[in-house]
């Protein structure tokens, strides 16, 4: 017989009490596991969604003047007539050391053109990267496939009475309307989108680019580092991070993390208290038994080892079951409750963490009862006094 046999025998005997203890730990661990895995999945989900919202870095030509626009209202027409960047600047951005974090680079040339007597804003874009960036665009018709095809903004299409398949003449050159955009509620409604090369020809600005929108993936969010690297690559350009988007993203993630941390702490505290009270009551019930152990020569450390070994076994069980239940709950409930579009990851490290957490709580909650048990006066426990 070993001390562990005594612990095992006691667990077998006090099944309902130990089941209650396992349940307390299980619920605590399962809650934390599901919170952690759902929060993680939400991080990824938000990331994906935010990345879909488009650019978070804008590269514009260096200008000495301050911007003359606010809230979409431009008070100087000179805003579009600044010194241009060059087509190969877009490629240069793809060469920065942190290029792995760059999801998309969308160069643009903007300028005013004449279409059938109307002054219209022409935006030359690289359609594949532009359409990747503007996932919210809804096109009636088709995506432009060749340089002679254009997309019309909602208002532009309506002003020019153009439909997909029609032809429009821009500064004397004919383009076929591949599609029109549904109303966006932005300045893009008024614009015509053409292939960048074609726009450069029409506007008479070969190789010129007015701005480059960059979409940087922000998992670890070194957005300032990316800005700095682009600035070094393009010393004549002004590189600005859309700080607000980054901050609000960070804030959302922080709020989620704080929330799950707070809930986890509360749940774990409750779990710890369940362990403490259950173990205390188990120790109180076993006063005479512990008195016998002490009387026949068990040291205090022997008693503490029996109690802590029981706690360890129960915690291991609670941890494993809690992890499994937590993962199951987050896999099943995650998509429904948190509207997750990404799956919950079954991470073995989380399993290890869950078991370690259960053991930590189980042992922490049992230390005081174990000390109490170890310090029981055998004479008092056996009613000699």
């Amino acid at each position: 017989m070993r001390l562990t046999d005594i612990a095992l025998n006691n667990l077998k005997r006090r099944k309902s009490k130990m089941l209650f203890l396992v349940l307390g730990l299980l619920i605590g661990v399962a809650t934390v596991v599901s919170l952690v895995s759902i929060t993680r999945a939400m991080h990824t989900d938000i990331q994906d969604k935010i990345d879909q919202f488009g650019a978070n870095i804008v590269v514009t030509p260096q200008a000495d003047d301050l911007a003359l626009s606010y809230g979409g209202v431009t008070v100087s027409s000179a805003a579009y007539d600044v010194k241009e960047l060059h087509t190969d600047d877009a490629a240069k951005i793809q060469q920065i050391p942190l290029r792995a974090n760059i999801a998309n680079v969308a160069p643009k040339l903007v300028g005013a053109v004449d279409v059938g007597g109307n002054k219209v804003l022409l935006v030359g874009v690289d359609f594949p990267s532009e359409l990747r960036l503007k996932k919210w665009w809804e096109i009636v018709g088709q995506d432009p496939a060749v340089p002679d095809e254009v997309l019309l903004g909602y208002n532009a299409a309506s002003r020019l009475s153009a439909m997909p398949g029609n032809t429009v003449t821009i500064n004397g050159r004919s383009f076929q309307v591949a599609g029109t955009l549904k109303e966006l509620g932005s300045s893009e409604d008024d614009a015509i989108f053409a292939d960048l090369g074609a726009a450069q020809q029409v506007l008479g600005k070969p190789d010129a680019v007015s701005l480059i929108e960059v979409s940087a993936l922000c998992k670890a969010c070194p957005i300032e580092d990316i800005v700095q690297e682009i600035s070094m690559q393009l010393p004549d350009a002004r590189v600005s991070a859309l700080a607000q988007a980054v901050k609000s993203r960070q804030q959302t993630v922080d709020q989620l993390t704080s929330f799950s941390l707070a809930v986890s702490i509360v749940v774990l505290l409750i779990g710890g208290l369940v362990v403490l009270t259950t173990m205390m009551s188990a120790v109180n019930e076993r006063t005479r038994e512990i008195g016998i152990f002490r009387a026949i020569g068990f040291r205090r450390t022997h008693i503490a080892r029996v109690i802590l070994f029981e706690a360890l076994l129960v915690s291991l069980l609670g941890g494993v079951l809690g992890w499994f239940l937590g993962m199951l709950a987050s896999t099943v409930l995650g998509p429904r409750v948190a509207q997750l579009s990404v799956g919950v990851e079954w991470n073995p490290l989380l399993a290890l963490g869950a078991v370690a957490l259960a053991v930590a709580i189980g042992l922490a909650g049992s230390i005081y009862p174990a000390i109490r048990a170890a310090n029981l006066d055998p004479a008092e426990a056996l009613r000699f006094i």
Partner: protein, 228 residues
Amino acid sequence: MPLIEMQQIVKTYNSNGAAVQALKGIDFRVAEGEIMAIMGPSGSGKSTLLSILGAMNPPTSGQVLVDEIPIYDLSLEKRADFRHEYLGFVFQQLQLIPYLTALENTLLPLAITRLSHRQQEEMALTALERVGLGDKARRLPNQLSGGEQERVAIARAIVNQPPIVLADEPTGSLDTQTGAEVMRLFQSLNREGLTVVIVTHNPENIPYVQRVVHLRDGGIVQDRGRQK
């Protein structure tokens, strides 16, 4: 050379703010191989005396020497080791662990030794056979009669072969015949060299011991019988 020597043992308890003297300067010696009874009415201090003798209850003053070891000069852990090495206890109301079989109850004192499972089991079975329960080793306490439970408690007390066995009211819950059988068992163990100290209030146990110490109001009023 006495195996046990109690020197001027005084034990005072604090009861509701008032000091109550349970033992008032007890002096006696127990020789090796002696079997003796400590008798007295309720409240005479006999159980307190046994717990002090059992290294579980430090006296207010005085010293207890066992094998010349001043046991209350030992640290708590060393005193636990001392109990393990020198003493076997048979408690009042049996005090078997209900969820352990007779064999497992007997094995308990060996759980803290480095003996192998096989050695432990051999020792426990020998002890159970010694008390006549070799065939009931796998039974739980509630599957045994009162006398059998008492004998399991005795097997547990002798399993690691301590020189002294202390018994508190071992026949208290037994009928006369079973009580006599248990006392005969103590007598027989004593003949094999075990020193036995029994606390009892039952005069029927007197024929089985060599010496009777009578306590009253915390003091020895009579010490009858021969000492080796």
